[in-house]
Amino acid sequence: MGSPRPQSGAPGPYEFPTATRQTLANGLRVIVAPMHRLPLVTVIAVVDAGAAGDAGGEEGLAMLTASALTEGTANRDGPALVDAFERLGTAVESGADWDDASVRLTVTPPRLDEALALLAEVLRAPRFSESDVERLKSERLAELLQQQMEPRGLADERFARVVYDASSRYATAAGGSPRSVRTLDVAQVRGWHEARYSGATTTVIVAGDVTPSRVLELIERRFGGWRQPVQPMRSLEATARSAMRAVHVVAKPDAPQSELRVGHTGLPRMHRDYFAVVVMNAVLGGLFSSRINLNLREVHAYTYGAHSGFDWRRNAGPFVVASAVKTEVTDAAVREILLEIDRIRDEEVSADELDLATKYLAGVFPVRYETTGAVASALALATVYGLPDDYFSTYRERIASVSRADVLAAARAHIHPAALQVLAVGDVKAIEAPLAALGVATPLVTSATEEDDA
């Protein structure tokens, strides 16, 4: 007790697991990252078939298709397929995000071959029965209905709608809106699968207790003949709805807290300022010890937590500050968020703040990638965004090379106070007038139940 603060020694050597990359004749890419500590393998098949490719009016099709993959194949119905996976000790999961569809599972190595055989069935010959597709649609509609009472999901969904122009795919949730989901049918699901799922659009990532040559042999056997014509991916415009500040209130009567979202359109994942922006955001609101969290939580006790983030996508995903604050301090919390946003653009962050952010981001890297699931997920993201092969081996240096001037330049280039959209899901009668008094903009009030903006 009372001993002086210990000095830490030198960091031990660390290498991100070395990945072997190969391509089959049909264009399917295979990435293998051996990790031999435990008898475990994670497999992720990533397909270039994400929600960004949904056509107008068909929002939700990519996610519905990805979910339906694991509802049965040509050889087995849904229950038999689930049973086959689960008897291997693995719960297969499929889904889609903005920029990819994926199927993932974790098994012990002796069961890998059987699991890959099932995975190939799922991707190549899904059953897509009408009843399963209709059931998944109603599950999504049920989720959207429940969201009307769930302030966090509601705030996220409404925030996207006020940040992006209605013509942008990003204005509607990746899973679609009630209006779009109701119109989807099994023919569209089959059509989307036909158009986007093929060897040429798929990467299979395997991380764990395996050898690359053995994995390649297994994958060649299961996916070797998979060829299909593929239509090009639809392009997406991340157009902002408005360049003017606005305040939006979504009614949740008598809510004891307001769910806040403050932000605007951000920038694409492959932007050259990526590392400077990541460090800037860490200082602003990315860490527990960031300005926004310390201000709103530890100084003012307005909230249990507050953070900021850039949602990285192929196109410009949103930049958002998010927090749930006590109803009575909604206006004060918004004022503090706006002040912190101005401050990060006004002057350089301190040397101490930069040191904390860069040391955290670089230092936590080995802690993040202890598991086969985390390594496979990282390699999947690298695939989706086309990150260079040396991305993981150079990440820590790239972070460490960000300077205070870089952070200021990134804040000035990519944070736009004049375009901020402020959204609160909360008790209108308690927060509308105080928000109006902030002088940002006259609040626009909507109800939680209304459908897409007409």
């Binding site: 830490s8 960091p11 660390y14 109603s138 249990y304 936590v364 080995p366």
Partner: protein, 426 residues
């Protein structure tokens, strides 16, 4: 798959377990204090958790926001959590920062009180009240995790009351309460320390000695009131809650054998057969075939004192009323009891449990937490290595016997959420 373990006790009572693994330059420090909401006195619900927040507000040699800052600057992750019968604190750091993490933990175990101020308490009280609003009051079904124990444990039982606490009790907490709670429960003889990951045992032992050996043992702690309970509820209890929700949700709870007992493992397998993953009975019957529910589950709470809870849950599809939902869940449970489980269902459950278990041993922080759990609740860290064998010993007959003994009508508690305003189906 067995973790290497080396356990010893310091003269002040701290139980230390080391588990070396050099596969990544990462080390986890994990402390469990054997105190949770069960130890709160009347009028102080939520105090154990509020106290957990205070442990991040600095100590004699650590400034008010320094704990988070120092660990994050080291490239580490950290947090704490409070449960009915324990509170834990943990860091995972690059291995060369091991002693920093130990020093931070030792400083707050040894000398928290000099850093405590009314101002810090007031701030954290408001933060916790916001945590309550966020997780309970402003969330659909958010009150379930205080209503369910209230329904399942008698009022005088230490597991009955709210873990997050009432606003009133949080308001009443004082600095004197902080001091008393600290002196009573935050002592080395009421804690276990686990270090897992990349370190050398002799160096870690020396660090533990340097940082923790000087902390004095505590005085005798007040014993918990009797935790023992009859084997069943003796009735079918019921609580129907009108809430701001769009569709009904049911929690159906059963009093179950304590965590760690032989019957517990059969119960855990039974939960997997009944409600875990898409191959489970409830999923097939209610989600896939009946289309009555959008979501189902079953699990145990893993309580090691008095009695555990086995809880099934289901969320209705729009248009399905609470009575229909409950009848469907009950029908599956009754069928399980009448017909028993099949061998292949148990095999499926065990295969999933095995993969999950091995997966949970990947991260140093998870390994350390599992070791601390067995060290705290049973005084035997080595039990972490027995778990798979305990599961593998479970037979279909054991699971059927569990279902018949535990899931009967005289041992049920239904917590039913219904929409305040009936929603129109879509």
């Amino acid at each position: 798959m067995r973790l290497p373990l080396e356990s010893y006790r310091l003269p002040n009572g701290l139980l230390v377990t080391l588990s070396e693994d050099h596969s990544a330059p990462v080390v986890a420090v994990n402390l469990w204090y054997h105190v949770g909401s069960a130890n709160e006195r009347e009028g102080r619900t939520g105090f154990a958790h509020l106290f957990e927040h205070m442990l991040f507000q600095g100590s004699e040699h650590v400034g008010s926001s320094e704990h988070f800052e120092l660990i994050q600057r080291a490239g580490g992750t950290l947090n704490g959590s409070t449960w009915l019968e324990r509170t834990n604190y943990f860091e995972t750091v690059p291995s060369h920062h091991l002693e920093l993490a130990l020093w931070l933990e030792a400083d707050r175990m040894g000398a928290l009180l000099p850093a405590m101020t009314q101002d810090k308490l007031d701030t954290q009280r408001d933060v916790v009240k916001n945590e309550r609003r966020w997780s309970v009051d402003n969330q659909p079904y958010g009150t379930w995790w205080e209503r369910l124990p209230a329904l399942c444990f008698p009022p005088e039982h230490p597991f009955h009351h709210s873990l997050i606490g009432s606003m009133e009790d949080l308001s009443a907490a004082s600095l004197e309460d902080v001091a008393e709670f600290f002196r009573t429960y935050y002592t080395p003889d009421n804690a276990v320390l686990t270090i897992a990951g990349d370190f050398r045992a002799e160096e870690a032992r020396a660090m533990v000695e340097r940082q923790f050996a000087g902390i004095p043992r505590g005085a005798a702690r007040p014993a918990l009131p009797s935790m023992s309970l009859p084997r069943t509820f003796g009735r079918w209890a019921r609580d129907v809650v009108e809430d701001d929700v769009m569709v009904p949700r049911l929690f159906l709870a059963f009093r179950a054998p304590m965590f760690g007992s032989h019957a517990y493992y059969a119960g855990s397998v039974c939960a997997a057969v009944l409600g875990q993953r898409r191959g489970s009975r409830l999923y097939r019957a209610l989600v896939r075939d009946g289309e009555l529910a959008s979501d189902v589950g079953a699990s145990t709470w893993d309580l090691a004192k008095g009695a555990d809870l086995f809880v099934a849950d289901a969320t209705a599809r729009p248009g399905v009323d609470a009575a229909t939902l409950e009848a469907a869940v009950v029908a599956e449970i009754d069928r399980l009891r009448a017909e028993g489980v099949r061998e292949d269902e148990v095999e499926r459950a065990l295969a999933l449990i095995e993969t999950d278990y091995v997966s949970s041993m990947q991260a140093a922080g998870d390994r350390a937490d599992a070791i601390s759990k067995f060290a705290t609740l049973f005084g035997d860290p080595a039990l972490v290595n027995e778990q798979l064998d305990r599961y593998r010993a479970v037979t279909a007959a054991d699971v059927t016997a569990f279902a018949r003994e535990v899931l009967g009508e005289d041992n049920r508690a239904s917590l039913v959420y219904v929409p305040r305003i009936p929603a129109e189906g879509q």
